[in-house]
Symmetry: C2
Subunit: 151 residues, 2 copies
């Protein structure tokens, strides 16, 4: 007896994607008030409160290729939110840092992220929210091992 052809909704991956997309989209709309994208926020938060950081470090920590980091950094620089500087010792290296304006903006963006989380997860019963957090973090830990090395 042949198994039935499974439907989209038969997969947890489907529900995960649907919910994640909506939550991220809602967050993107909040950020767009400040003319910042989700990827830009992520990079800005990585740079916040730190000195100059090498693009290669960002690539590693954000799971992006170096090319992607360059492009994202270009956009931040174009918006006056980041600056590029030459490395001192090794002249191949560059560093990225936030501008003063960006340093002032990050707390607002963080507040937007807090609000978004509250909007989407705030009404979950405490037990469920904790369960969700535990499951996601467990899975994230596992996929950090499995993950295909970028670049």
């Amino acid at each position: 007896m042949p198994a039935a052809v499974s439907e989209l909704t038969d997969h947890l991956g489907y529900w995960l994607r649907i919910v994640s997309n909506h939550v991220s989209y809602a967050f993107a709309r909040r950020l767009s008030d400040k003319d910042v994208t989700v990827a830009e926020w992520a990079m800005m938060r990585m740079l916040f409160g730190r000195g100059p950081v090498a693009p290669s470090e960002l690539a590693m920590k954000m799971g992006l290729t170096r090319g992607a980091v360059t492009k994202l950094a270009d956009r931040l620089i174009g918006k006056g939110l980041a600056a590029r500087e030459e490395g001192q010792k090794d002249r191949r290296t560059q560093t990225l840092r936030l501008t003063a304006r960006a340093e002032a903006l990050v707390p607002e963006l963080a507040a937007a992220a807090d609000q978004n989380d509250l909007e989407w997860f705030g009404s979950l019963p405490d037990g469920e929210r904790r369960a969700l957090e535990r499951i996601l973090k467990t899975m994230a830990a596992r996929l950090a091992l499995t993950s295909i090395p970028v670049d």
Copy 2:
């Protein structure tokens, strides 16, 4: 006393996005063996085992604009996986259907989706998997109401 600036990892939305992206990416890699993308799979599954379907119906059910449906359909047609036909009564309407090759392919893609789900969620304890499913479906139901109407 000012609240600390929250970090990326302080948000459930962050973990949701990380995990969802990895699961979807892994699925995309499976599908790419068959030269199909995740969005194409979703549309194919919507069309599978059905007669001709109007693009507008697909747009509604998939949460896409009509323009996005046209573009996705164009790609399926280009790959020989779907066909476009004129509507009968109302001559403004078009319909989409799968080709025979696509009908034969969908069960393979469904099996790939099953495998992917098994790989990523199969090792969760039963209770956790059920909890995750329940939480995601509850959230999905809620956002179906909240969701910004497309188009």
